[in-house]
């Protein structure tokens, strides 16, 4: 179980990262997140769509309808604005994880003086 507070911005980051490589539809995105994170991130699969809609509204993604095997899918892909957003999110996430890693690896030098 992942603390929801630590998940802020993570779905956006993962989605943008995946869609940067190739266009995908919702089910493919969720499957790819599961594979890439080795099931470490478990979210209700349906919650990916509000994130996609919001990113599209912000101009970070664009969508198109495509007929595949007789079914119409909504495929998403990253825009130039989305690439910039992704770069920012990656920087932010790297900074946070580096800081946390440093904090948990460094021995504690704190001492209490009476």
């Amino acid at each position: 179980m992942v603390n929801p507070n630590f998940m802020n911005g993570v779905p956006e980051l993962l989605i943008l990262r995946l869609l940067e490589a190739q266009e995908m539809y919702g089910y493919e995105i969720v499957a790819a997140i599961r594979t890439k994170t080795a099931d470490a991130i478990s979210l209700g699969e349906g919650v990916v769509y509000p994130v996609l809609h919001a990113l599209e509204r912000e101009g970070a993604l664009k969508s198109r309808r495509k007929a595949v095997n007789g079914r119409t899918r909504v495929y998403y892909t990253v825009t130039r604005k989305g690439e910039t957003r992704l770069a920012g999110l990656v920087r932010q996430w790297t900074h946070i994880t580096d800081s946390v890693n440093r904090a948990i690896r460094e021995p504690s030098h704190a001492s209490v003086t009476i």
Binding site: Y25, G26, Y27, V30, L43, G44, E45, G46, V47, Y49, P50, V51, H53, A54, R57, E58, R71, R73, V74
Partner: protein, 252 residues
């Protein structure tokens, strides 16, 4: 019940103000996703009913599905965010724009005919003039009767789609029908001089004829729009009831 569950989700999102286009797309994508999950689970050996149960659980609870959508205020419609603007200011602006467009078209046609008459020296016959005045009156009637009704119906349909409270929808209907009903556009031509006049029975000097005519039009168009609202609401409710009674998926 799957159909029913998504309909409940749809109703909840619309009532909370999420724009209908986002709700429609969300539900369509959830249905597709659900179908893909059922296929995946059945391919892994699950029975149809077990696959549907697992798929529904993987998709997320209704609460999670609704909460993630509601957590994005930018997906809310303009109507839900500013109902006073859409149903209060909207009909006034639409009436002014509609009237301005109708009058501009009428003046444009009159100017065109007038320029043609000056250039060629042509004069319409008395019968031709009567036909033209009749056409202008029909046009003016459309502007005064039909435009407010069309605006009221538009607000009614938009409000019903967003599941807006009846108060806002009726505010829009009444404003459109009363202001629109009292507006007057009249064209007259005695063969020498044409005149296009604009007025409102709500502005002084108050003539009994304009007030009575305005009230009559306001009541007629309001009643017609209210009847359409009632019909639309009934259809909406009966549609949901029918869907709610169809059970196809076990509960979570």
């Amino acid at each position: 019940m799957l159909q029913s569950r998504f309909d409940e989700l749809r109703e909840r999102l619309l009532r909370a103000g999420i724009a209908p286009r986002h709700v429609r797309r969300y539900i369509a994508e959830l249905r597709d996703h659900f179908d893909d999950l059922v296929r995946e689970e059945t391919a892994n050996g699950a029975s149809q009913s077990a696959a549907e149960m697992k798929a529904r659980a993987r998709l997320g609870s209704d609460n999670d599905l609704a909460e993630t959508m509601l957590a994005r205020p930018d997906l809310r419609s303009l109507m839900a965010r500013y109902p006073w603007a859409v149903f209060g200011v909207g009909p006034v602006a639409m009436l002014i724009a509609g009237l301005a467009a109708a009058v501009a078209i009428e003046v444009g046609v009159l100017n065109l005919i007038s320029a043609q008459m000056h250039a060629t020296g042509w004069k319409p016959s008395p019968a031709g003039l009567r036909r033209f005045i009749l056409a202008a009156e029909v046009w003016n009637t459309l502007a005064t009767y039909v435009a407010p009704f069309v605006i009221a119906v538009t607000l009614c349909v938009m409000g019903l789609r967003q599941r807006m409270p009846a108060f806002w929808i009726f505010t829009g209907i009444v404003i459109a029908c009363v202001l629109g009903g009292f507006q007057e556009v009249h064209f007259s031509d005695d063969g020498h001089h044409g005149e296009l006049s604009l007025g409102s029975g709500l502005l002084p000097p108050f003539s009994m004829k304009m007030v009575v005519g305005g009230l009559y039009r306001a009541v007629i168009t309001s009643a017609a729009a209210a009847a359409l609202y009632w019909f639309g609401l009934r259809r909406q409710r009966s549609g949901n009831t029918t869907i709610d009674s169809a059970a196809t998926l076990p509960a979570e």
